[in-house]
């Protein structure tokens, strides 16, 4: 690893030179490679986004040094968050978050809270969609809910990513909305969940769009409704005449559940405002690239961007929300 880093450094240094000459105003800039912590495994939604960012930043030379993606997925992401928390005032480290920013400390009692980090920016929000196998007769969310209601508790199986995390939180909210229990089966990653649905080993999932889109294009799974207040804006055709925008909201189908997941960037505690601003500007530039636009379209992301106090207020609200949801579901660890 060492010598490869060195190689990267050399390339980055050369790049840095050329950038510096263009950019004489001496605001803070990274002077060594920036570690990009992913508190989740390889291949998942957060990892895909981090690696896309790494690619975009390298391709468009948006940063004078390299961005290096490092997965620290232990303890449902706790390992990654603790690492950032303990790197006080280190401006060469950023972390991408998913809902485990809130759920992991609540469910496991790992000594960590988002307030231990410095919020940088919200990159996007990830949507959730209710999926069933395309061979099943349920054409609408109403059909599916009626079938669940007609069967005894726990007959229908819901597959999801991880335990006591976003997928299971949605499942519990769904159970409450329809008044029937589902059997929740946790898997390691979103891709695996989608394949289990195609193979008929579970009855439904709440995969993120990007996790299930390829199976949808192959007409193996069917989206029933999206857990957002309005339908998605993307009108490119995906399966037959259907696009992301043709999926009705769950609320309109009589299931009043809404959930969006944060894809945001945080830094270690104790970094300066100037350093935070550097990364806010960096990600603003990233958002303008065609590659980022493509990722947003493929994954039907909600493209809300926030930084500063606005972002902080949003995270505060989201934390309260998660605490309430998890309390109701009985997911809070005894230590809390």
């Amino acid at each position: 690893m060492k010598h490869l880093h060195a190689f990267g450094l050399g390339a980055a240094a050369a790049l840095g030179m050329s950038l510096l000459s263009l950019n004489p105003a001496a605001a803070w800039e990274p002077t060594k490679p920036v570690e990009f912590i992913v508190p989740a495994g390889t291949g998942g939604g957060a990892d895909q986004m981090a690696r896309t960012l790494q690619g975009i930043i390298a391709k468009h030379s948006l940063m004078p040094t390299q961005l290096i993606v490092i997965n620290k997925s232990g303890g449902a992401g706790g390992e990654g968050f603790l690492d950032v928390k303990n790197s006080k005032a280190n401006p060469h480290k950023i972390v991408i978050t998913l809902s485990n920013l809130f759920t992991t400390p609540l469910a496991t009692g790992i000594p960590f809270n988002w307030k231990d980090l410095t919020p940088v920016a919200m990159l996007a929000l990830d949507e959730f969609v209710l999926w069933v196998n395309a061979e099943k007769p349920y054409k609408t969310a109403q059909d599916y809910v009626a079938a669940v209601k007609a069967a005894p508790d726990g007959t229908f199986k819901m597959g999801g990513t991880g335990s006591k995390q976003e997928d299971q939180i949605i499942t519990v909210a769904l159970e409450k909305a329809i008044g029937k229990k589902l059997t929740y089966i946790p898997y390691k990653g979103g891709g695996e969940v989608a394949v289990q649905l195609v193979g008929g080993h579970v009855d439904s999932t709440v995969n993120n769009p990007i996790e299930a889109v390829s199976q949808w294009r192959g007409d193996k799974v069917r989206p029933l409704c999206v857990f957002d207040e309005k339908t998605l804006p993307y009108t490119d055709k995906i399966q037959g005449d259907l696009s992301w925008s043709s999926i009705p909201t769950c609320k309109s189908a009589g299931v009043d559940v809404e959930y969006l997941m944060l894809r945001g960037i945080f830094m270690p505690p104790g970094v300066s405002q100037e350093q935070v601003d550097y990364f806010v500007t960096l990600f603003k530039k990233v958002r303008e690239t065609p590659e980022w636009q493509q990722l947003m379209k493929d994954g039907a992301f909600n493209q809300t961007f926030m930084a500063g106090p606005e972002f902080k207020a949003w995270v505060e609200g989201a934390e309260k929300n998660h605490k309430a949801l998890m309390q109701e579901a009985g997911f809070i660890a005894a230590a809390n």
């Binding site: 232990g74 303890g75 009692g109």
Partner: protein, 501 residues
């Protein structure tokens, strides 16, 4: 079918482009270097180089990256044979006979056998991919949690049944492995367990740390105890070693075919290369007439696991392309790459991106050929490493091990863990407990437990789920037979004796 061949022909045309051929050689060489350093596995190598490929066409990029992957697979065998340090889970079984061979001065033979078998396994798997790609994908879909558990069960049982050591010792060693595998986050409840409040244990015990310690450090401790003399001294630099070994390999055709079948099958089912290599080794030991000599440097004991591991590793790429589920960390990084190039793995990839898919498959053929050529020319070189005195090479191995352990998670604690595992490995070896079942349990324990509990969640707690369809019942039955093989074969033998009387 004919369509497949036409597509493949077109694929060769793309992969045979001089620029792409050059990328293959570069990729294989990089891969071998990455594979030789434990800890810096193929996944890291591919991840680091991924951004460099964005300026290429997707086909060229995937050729470069997958060749690094092949190179790392080949390279993993080198450290297994020379230093008893498996760089990847699936090279563990290669150490059982590969390292004893190196100690007897037959490192060149062992490396040649390992490389050649890897090539054969991978090649057979590629042919299978070419012929039956669409069928394979639908077979893989039949694997729910119960079926997956059955496959793991079969792997564990075949190890208990086939082991040379008394089954009790095998089971004790395996149980220690299961206990270690249980540390960290419990996937099903989302709770931490057995971490005793230590933040360092959040991640559980990484397989690589355990293996580097148990095998690498343990080995150094043993050698030190027996005096600082290095037993591989007899190794001579001999360019003809490759040809000489090749002449003996055709004898093991039956083992090769068996291992190819095991490998392809395990690769398509999501179990992967590690159980495949262990199973192929275990079965070869049972069936071969040299079985008694396994573990003492029998060349067949290198052929069997290497063939199966690479057949499995290669055929595992198919579910990734057709279903979008990566079979290994390296595959997961490749998957991320595909997404950046706007290629969505899944059922439509074969329909919409024909040029890319068949270019990749054609590059598997060429990449493996190029790889075999590259690594075989280096055999005498690597074998010569063993001529260096032990007192010089031991510190170097120690440093490489420490760097390897550190790079797994960029964590100093892991280096300490590695040393602890080294002492454990030494003690276990001294008391003749087998290490392999322990390693197998650390690698597969987590996944097996997960599959078991997912199955029970789905069935509402009823254990009958493991007999609920012909597929899962067959695998479970095979597992039981394998596990009680010692008893069963004993009973048959007694029956035979009783018969004439």
């Amino acid at each position: 079918m004919l369509d497949n061949f036409l597509n493949l022909w077109h694929g060769f045309y793309i992969a045979g482009d001089p620029f792409n051929l050059l990328l293959m050689v570069v990729g294989i060489l990089l891969g071998v270097i990455i594979g030789v350093l434990p800890g810096l596995g193929g996944a890291n190598g591919v991840a680091i180089l991924l951004p460099l490929t964005f300026s290429m066409s997707p086909t060229s990029a995937i050729i470069l990256l997958s060749c690094i992957y092949w190179g790392a697979l080949f390279g993993g065998a080198i450290t297994s044979v020379l230093f008893n340090i498996p760089g990847e889970p699936w090279s563990v079984a290669t150490t059982f006979d590969g390292h004893p061979m190196a100690r007897q001065g037959k490192a060149g033979e062992a490396l040649t056998a390992a490389f050649t078998s890897s090539f054969v396994g991978a090649f057979v798997a590629i042919i299978m991919i070419t012929l039956v790609a669409p069928l394979v994908a639908s077979f893989a879909l039949q694997f729910g949690p119960a079926e997956k558990f059955a496959v793991y069960f079969l792997a564990f049982c075949s190890f208990i049944g086939m082991s040379k050591e008394p089954p009790a010792k095998t089971i004790v060693s395996m149980m220690i492995g299961f206990a270690l595998a249980a540390v960290g986050l419990d996937m099903v409840t989302g709770q931490l367990r057995l971490t005793f409040g230590f933040e360092e244990l959040l991640n559980g015990f990484d397989f690589l740390i355990a293996v580097i310690g148990l095998f690498g450090i343990g080995e150094i401790l043993l050698t030190m105890e027996e005096g600082l003399e290095f037993r591989g001294k007899a190794a001579k630099i001999d360019a003809k070693v490759v040809l000489r070994t090749w002449a003996t390999l055709p004898k093991y055709w039956a083992t090769s075919i068996r291992s190819c079948i095991i490998g392809c099958w395990m690769g398509i089912t999501p179990a992967g290369a590690t159980p495949a290599s262990f199973m192929a080794y275990g079965i070869a030991k049972r069936v071969s007439k040299n079985g008694k000599n396994f573990g003492n440097g029998e060349i067949e004991g290198v052929v069997a696991p290497e063939t199966a591991a690479h057949a499995a590793g290669t055929s595992a790429l198919l579910p990734m392309l057709a279903l979008g589920v990566p079979g290994s960390p390296t595959a997961a990084v490749l998957l991320g790459g595909l997404l950046i190039w706007g290629l969505q793995p899944g059922p439509m990839l074969f329909v919409e991106q024909k040029e890319f898919v068949w270019g990749l498959i054609a590059s598997m053929y060429l990449g493996n050929l190029v790889g075999l050529f590259v690594v075989l020319t280096t055999v005498p070189l690597f074998a010569a490493i063993l001529r260096i005195p032990f007192s010089i090479i031991a510190p170097v191995i120690l440093v490489i091990c420490a760097i390897g352990a550190y790079t797994v998670n960029n964590n100093v604690f892991d280096v300490v863990m590695m040393l602890v595992f080294g002492v454990i490995g030494y003690v276990l070896k001294k008391t003749s407990y087998p290490l392999a079942p322990l390693v197998l349990a650390i690698v597969l324990g987590d996944s097996a437990e997960e599959a078991f509990r997912q199955s029970l969640l789905g069935s509402g707690g009823s254990i009958s789920v493991f007999w609920s369809n012909p597929l899962v019942s067959t695998i479970m039955a095979l597992g039981l037979v394998a596990g009680f093989w010692t008893l069963i074969s004993g009973a048959i033998a007694r029956f035979r004796v009783a018969q004439p009387a």
